[in-house]
């Protein structure tokens, strides 16, 4: 850090003085960090202020990162910051592949969240199509839904409810915080006007603990 041999920036070469070495090093550091691809010395020079010497700054930066958690490494003719090879085991989590849930799964999940506890037959009634086994299994496996109490109706069907893991993922404190149809409409998420009588926001109605009130809510579609 102490070497101040800065007569490199001779006045006849540049109207602007080159930034001090420490600054140049910061610049290389920021550029390498933000770049999506390794950056060549020529490109570094082109991006840094006039008179800067990227090669020198790069060499200083490389030394600075020796033995650190990330290193400055050369890849072909260009440079990049990379995790130290011995710490690769920490990166396992980065390899997790995230995919969007299928439409069937998200719809099923939405119905469970809004109508829980809800049976499979009820989900199918609301969606208007049958729910594949895989969809429910997937949601169970993700631990976003679980089995609730059995419904006290013939056949005693199992019900589904959402889990704390679900609430956590969607940043909800409880399913009561889910916006109702009216809120969705107000937020512009629903484009159509409902027919008269449809506009009731059923979320308002199920404030009380009404475990098996499901049937009423659906009547409006009939």
């Amino acid at each position: 850090m102490a070497e101040h041999d800065e007569d490199l920036a001779r006045p006849e070469e540049s109207l602007f003085e080159a930034p001090p070495e420490g600054e140049q090093e910061r610049m290389v550091e920021a550029i390498l960090f933000a770049a999506a691809e390794p950056v060549s010395v020529a490109e570094l020079n082109a991006r840094m202020p006039h008179g800067a010497d990227a090669a020198t700054a790069l060499e200083r930066l490389r030394k600075r990162y020796e033995g650190r958690g990330v290193n400055v490494v050369r890849i072909a003719e260009a440079w990049a910051i990379r995790t130290a090879p011995d710490l690769g085991f920490l990166m396992q989590k980065e390899t997790v592949e995230t995919r969007k849930l299928s439409r069937a799964a998200i719809e099923t999940l939405a119905i469970i969240a809004y109508h829980q506890p809800v049976t499979r037959a009820e989900i199918e009634e609301i969606r208007g199509v049958s729910v594949s086994r895989g969809t429910i299994d997937q949601l169970l496996e993700m631990e976003w839904i679980r089995f609730g109490r059995r419904r006290m109706t013939p056949g005693r069907p199992v019900t589904f409810i959402v889990t704390p893991g679900f609430l956590d993922h969607f940043g909800l404190e409880s399913t009561r915080d889910l916006p109702g149809l009216r809120d969705l409409r107000a937020a512009g998420l629903l484009d159509n006007r409902p027919p008269p009588g449809f506009g009731l926001d059923e979320r308002e109605e199920d404030e009380e603990e009404t475990p098996d009130m499901f049937e009423e809510n659906e009547a409006e579609d009939g």
Partner: protein, 265 residues
């Protein structure tokens, strides 16, 4: 010196007029009456808390008047605000009526001043917020997220927005389906005709049209209405075809039919 002042005064008058005209021309640029009031308030060049609400009310009413003379359509909420300000103005000018227990004119004025100050404060805050260093513009995230191919685990994700949109989609799907009448309670004219044709041949005497309604339909009001209309329409068809005759002794009296040639099937 004196001349300078005269010129300055003239300039000011011109500037004021231009400003007033600019306001008018720009009426579409306002985000509602409160925004307009705030702009007007600024012309008073005082701290918003020291604003003269009376003067502001007058400015606003003058603005609305002026817009009218220029035949500019003002949205309803501007006119509502004008009405309210006219009311406030009269309350501010007149002594309070005894026994008037609503909020005083001063309280209303103070609240308006507060609303303006609050709106201005939020505008300033918004400007300060946007003036901050922003991600992707002033500071940057790692450009090369490292992926170490080691364990490969698929996780599924969805946002709250996905969830809500999915729900909204399901719950409103029926609204989008092509309009189809629910036919359960509808008796069509064709059906009525089918029913009436074989029966009227035996109607040698005048009989009440209502006696031809299909069984069971006269009980439910909705079905009764549909069946009545269909049967009546069918009877008109049969009259047109010369099969039956139709009469109604007086207004609202029962409608009666009989075969035009008794005995003719």
């Amino acid at each position: 010196m004196a001349e300078d002042m005269v010129t300055a005064a003239k300039d000011e008058a011109v500037a004021e007029r231009l400003a007033a005209e600019a306001l008018i021309v720009d009426v579409d640029g306002y985000e509602g009456p409160l925004d307009l009031l705030l702009t007007l308030a600024r012309t008073q060049k005082v701290d918003l808390l020291k604003i003269s609400v009376l003067k502001l009310a007058e400015q606003y009413l003058a603005f609305v008047e002026h817009a009218k003379t220029l035949r500019i359509e003002l949205a309803a909420d501007y006119l509502v605000m004008a009405a309210w300000l006219a009311f406030l103005k009269s309350r501010l000018l007149l002594p309070p009526e005894p026994g008037d227990d609503g909020p005083s004119a001063d309280e209303l004025a103070a609240h308006l001043a507060y609303q303006l100050e609050r709106l201005q404060a939020m505008r300033d805050a918004a400007a300060k917020l946007m003036a901050r260093d922003q991600r992707g513009k002033d500071f940057f995230v790692r450009g090369q997220i490292e992926v170490v191919e080691r364990t490969r685990k698929v996780t599924w994700t969805a946002t709250l927005l996905d969830l809500m949109q999915a729900y909204a989609r399901i719950r409103t799907r029926d609204d989008f389906r092509p309009f189809v009448m629910d036919r359960k309670d509808v008796f069509t004219m064709e059906e009525a005709l089918e029913r009436l044709k074989p029966l009227v041949g035996y109607a040698g005497e005048w009989t009440d049209l209502m006696s031809y309604l299909p069984e069971g339909w006269e009980l439910d009001p909705v079905r009764r209405r549909s069946a009545t209309a269909a049967t009546f329409a069918a009877s008109l068809e049969l009259v047109k075809a010369g099969k039956i005759r139709l009469r109604q002794p007086e207004t609202f009296a029962p409608i009666q039919i009989r075969a035009s040639e008794p005995g003719h099937g």
